[in-house]
C-alpha cells in the first residue's frame, strides 16, 4: 500500500549512525540475521547436550553397569530421564530451532528480497521465549527426582502421576518447557507466513519464490494447524500432574488414549514440519551444484501441499496397539501408505534434477545427496511400519527407533550440515574449509549408518525399546545381539568425534576461511545479491527487483551458466 513508485530506498547508513552496544547488537537485536544466529547457536548447544545424552545411554546398553566416562554408573531412573530428554531436545530444541527458526529467519527476508521480517519485535520475542523454554528444560535436569523420565511422547498415566514416573518436579517443568517452545514457534510461524505473503520483492510472483521458502511457509502452516490441540492437551496434562484433575485418568472418568490422539495429531504433522525445510535446503543445494533447473517445480510445490494436507490424517498409525478399532487402523494404514507418494515425488524430482547436470561435489552437495539417499531408506521402512499388520509385531522395537532415526538424522543433522556449509559464506563472509568438510561428511554419514543398521536388525529380532539392561532378558542377552549393540555404540562415538572436526572448522573458518565474494556458488536466488556477510538492511540503498524464477541455470544462449533473479533482462 505504502509502496513508493520509484525504487525503494533501503537502509541509509548516513543518518546519525552510532555503533550499537554489545547488548543491542547481539542480545536484544531485532535484525532477522542476528535472531537466526541466536537460534542456530542455541540449537547447536542443545544438540551437544542431546548428543551427550545419547552417548551415555548407548554406553549403558553396550556395557551394562560399567562406569561410563564423563558420567559414572547410570541408574535406571537417570536412564529414563536421558532417553526422554534426548528425544525431546533433538526434536524441539535442535530440529525446530535450527531448521525452521534459524533457516527461516536467515533465509526468508534475504530470499524474498526485503530487509527484515514484517514483525521484527515479535521475532525477537519469539527467540526470547524459546531461550526461556530451553533454560526451563535444563533446570528440570537438576530438580529433585531429576529430569522427566516418561518418554518424549509423555503418555499418561506414566506422565501424569508422580508415583509412576518418579519425577515430581521434572515432569511439569518438562511440560512447561515444551509449551513455551511451542508458543515461541507459533509467534515465529505467523511472522514467517505474513512476511512471505506481504513483503516479497517487486516482481516476485508465486512461482518465483524459492522452493525452500515455500517449504518453510507450508511447514509453519502445518505447525500452526496441528499444535493447537496439543496446547489444550498440555494444559490438561499439567493440571493432571500438578492439581490432580483426571482428564487422562481412567479411574476418574478420563481417557488416557485421548492424550495419545492429541499428541500424535500434532506429532505426526511435526515430522513434516521439520522434514519440509530440510527438503527445501536439499532442493536449493541440488540445483545450484547440478547447474540445472529444478525438475518439476510446480509438481514439487503441489506435492508438498498435498503432503501437508494428508499429514493430518495419518496420526493414529502410532496407536495401532493402543486399542484403535481395526477398521480405523485400516484407514490410517491407507493414508500412511498414500503419504509416501508425495514425499517420493519430491525426492525423485531432486534425483531427476541431477540427470544431465554438471555436478560439483562440494561438501554441501555431498550432504544434500546423502540426505536424499538416507531419507529414502527411512521413508521405505516407514511403509512397513505404516501397515497395521506388520506394526503390531514391530511396534516399540528398535526397528521403529532405527526407522525414525533414519528420517530424523538426515533431517536434523545431514540437511542442517548441508545448509551450514552452503550458507556459511552468506552468514560470515568466508567459506568453510572444504577438505575438512569432506572428512567430516564421510565420518558423519558412514558412522550414522553404522549406528542404525545394527539397530534395524536388532529390532527385527525383537529388541524392545526403553529397556535399561538387556542382560535381564535371556532372549535378548545373546552374544550376537550384544555385539551389535557394542558396534552401534562405537559408531556413535565415532560420529560424535567427527563433530569435533566440524566445530573446529566452523570457528577457525570464521577468522581464517577463504574470503567468499557475494556469490561464491554462482547461485540465482536473491540472498546472493547481498554482500557477504549481509549487512543490516540486507541490500544496501536499492532493494532488488525480480525478473525470473529462481532456478534458471545453464540457460541456452547465455555466457554464464546462471541467471540471477534480479538481473534485468537485456532487452529492457
Amino acid at each position: 500500500m505504502a509502496e513508493v513508485a520509484h525504487a525503494e530506498v533501503g537502509h541509509d547508513d548516513h543518518h546519525d549512525h552510532h555503533e550499537p552496544s554489545f547488548w543491542s547488537k547481539y542480545v536484544f537485536s531485532t535484525d532477522h540475521k542476528m535472531i537466526a544466529m541466536q537460534y542456530m547457536f542455541t540449537g547447536m548447544a542443545m544438540a551437544l547436550i542431546g548428543g551427550f545424552f545419547a552417548y551415555v545411554f548407548r554406553m549403558q546398553l553396550a556395557f551394562p553397569g560399567a562406569s561410563i566416562p564423563f558420567w559414572g554408573t547410570l541408574s535406571p531412573a537417570a536412564y529414563n530421564s536421558l532417553v526422554t530428554n534426548h528425544g525431546t531436545i533433538m526434536i524441539f530444541w535442535v530440529a525446530m530451532p535450527v531448521l525452521i527458526a534459524a533457516m527461516g529467519n536467515f533465509l526468508i527476508p534475504l530470499m524474498i528480497g526485503c530487509d527484515d521480517m514484517v514483525f521484527p519485535r515479535v521475532n525477537r520475542l519469539s527467540y526470547q521465549i524459546f531461550l526461556i523454554s530451553a533454560i526451563v528444560l535444563i533446570i528440570s535436569f537438576f530438580v529433585p527426582g531429576g529430569g522427566f523420565g516418561g518418554a518424549w511422547t509423555a503418555y499418561p498415566p506414566l506422565s501424569a502421576k508422580a508415583q509412576y514416573n518418579a519425577t515430581p518436579f521434572g515432569a511439569p517443568l518438562w511440560l512447561i518447557a515444551v509449551t513455551l517452545e511451542i508458543v515461541a514457534f507459533l509467534l515465529g510461524g505467523i511472522n514467517f507466513i505474513t512476511t512471505v505473503m506481504n513483503a516479497r520483492a517487486k516482481g516476485m510472483r508465486m512461482y518465483d519464490i524459492p522452493i525452500i521458502v515455500w517449504m518453510i511457509v507450508i511447514a509453519s502452516i502445518l505447525f500452526m494447524c496441528s499444535v493447537g490441540p496439543l496446547i489444550a492437551g498440555a494444559v490438561m496434562l499439567l493440571f493432571d500432574q500438578t492439581l490432580g484433575t483426571g482428564f487422562f485418568d481412567g479411574a476418574a472418568g478420563g481417557d488416557p488414549v485421548l492424550w495419545q490422539h492429541l499428541f500424535w495429531f500434532f506429532g505426526h504433522p511435526e515430522v513434516y514440519v521439520v522434514l519440509l525445510p530440510a527438503m527445501g535446503i536439499v532442493g536449493e543445494i541440488t540445483c545450484t551444484f547440478a547447474r540445472k533447473k529444478l525438475f518439476a517445480y510446480k509438481l514439487i510445490l503441489y506435492s508438498t501441499i498435498g503432503l501437508g494436507i494428508l499429514s493430518f490424517f495419518v496420526w493414529a498409525h502410532h496407536q495401532f496397539i493402543s486399542g484403535v478399532d481395526p477398521r480405523a487402523a485400516y484407514l490410517f494404514t491407507t493414508t500412511t501408505l498414500l503419504i509416501s507418494i508425495p514425499v517420493a515425488i519430491v525426492l525423485f524430482a531432486y534425483i531427476a534434477t541431477l540427470y544431465g547436470g554438471s555436478i560439483r561435489f562440494t561438501t554441501a552437495m555431498l550432504f544434500a545427496l546423502a540426505f536424499t539417499g538416507e531419507f529414502l531408506l527411512g521413508g521405505v521402512t516407514g511403509i512397513w511400519l505404516g501397515s497395521s499388520g506388520v506394526d503390531v509385531y514391530l511396534h516399540d522395537t528398535y526397528f521403529v527407533l532405527a526407522h525414525f532415526h533414519y528420517t530424523f538424522v538426515p533431517i536434523a543433522i545431514i540437511a542442517t550440515f548441508a545448509a551450514v556449509y552452503y550458507w556459511y559464506p552468506k552468514m560470515f563472509g568466508r567459506k568453510m574449509n572444504e577438505t575438512w568438510g569432506k572428512i567430516h561428511f564421510w565420518g558423519t554419514t558412514v558412522s550414522f549408518n553404522g549406528i542404525f543398521i545394527p539397530l534395524f536388525i536388532l529390532g527385527a529380532g525383537g529388541q524392545h525399546r526403553r529397556i535399561y539392561n538387556f542382560q535381564h532378558y535371556p532372549d535378548l542377552a545373546g552374544a550376537d545381539m550384544q555385539d551389535m549393540r557394542v558396534f552401534a555404540t562405537l559408531s556413535l562415538i565415532v560420529m560424535l568425534a567427527f563433530q569435533v572436526i566440524f566445530i573446529v572448522n566452523f570457528f577457525v573458518s570464521l577468522k581464517r576461511g577463504e574470503k567468499a565474494g557475494n556469490n561464491p556458488w554462482k547461485a540465482n536466488t536473491l540472498e546472493w545479491v547481498a554482500t557477504s556477510p549481509a549487512p543490516h538492511g540486507n541490500f544496501g540503498p536499492v532493494m532488488p527487483e525480480v525478473y525470473r524464477g529462481p532456478y534458471e541455470y545453464s540457460v541456452e544462449g547465455r555466457e554464464e551458466d546462471y541467471w540471477p533473479q534480479n538481473e534485468k533482462p537485456s532487452d529492457s
Binding site: M1, A2, H11, I190, M197, A199, R200, M224, L262
Partner: protein, 193 residues
Amino acid sequence: MAHQIIATSRSRTGIPTGRLAVWWVIGSEILIFGGLIGSYLLNRFNHGPSWSVEAANTNTFIGACNTFWLLTSSLFVVFAHAASEKRDAKKTRMWIWLTIMLGGFFMGFKTYEYTTEIQHGFTLFTSNFWSFYYVATGLHGFHVVCGMVIMGIIAENDIKHGRNWHRVENIGLYWHFVDIIWIFLFPLMYIAK
C-alpha cells in the same frame, strides 16, 4: 533501531500485514479451542447421562446474561471501528471503553458464578465435566481479559494520540473471535443438559 523497516510497509496481498497476522493468530487459537472443545465433546458422547447430570448444575441465567454482554460488546467494537474509519478519536475511545466495560461485566458475572459454584462444591476436581468447564471457560476468560487490556492500551496509547488507527480493526477481529468461542461454549456447557 529507529530506522523504518521496508518489510513492514509492503503489502503484496493487498491485505495490511497487521490484519493478516491477526487472522493467522485467530486460526491458531481456533485450533487450541478446537482441541479442547473436541476433547470435551468426545468425552461427553462417551459418558452421556452422567455428564448431563453434572451439566444441569451450571447457571444458565448467568450464562445467558454473559452471552448478552459479549454480543453487545461485539456491536460496540464495530461502532469503534466505524468511528476509527472516520478518524474520530473521541468516539472511537468511547466505544472502546464501553466494550471494555461490557467485558468487565462479563468477568464480574463469571467471578460470581465461579464463587457460587465452588461454594456449592463444584470445583475443578468434582468430576471431569467440571474440569473441562473450568479449563474451557477459564481459558476463554483469560482471552477476554487479554482483549480488555489490549483495548485499553490501544485507546490510551494509540487513539488518544491519533496514531495506529488500524489497530482498532485488528482488536475488533480478535474480540469477535473471543465472542464466537463463547457462542460455542455457552450451548455446550450451559444449555445442553
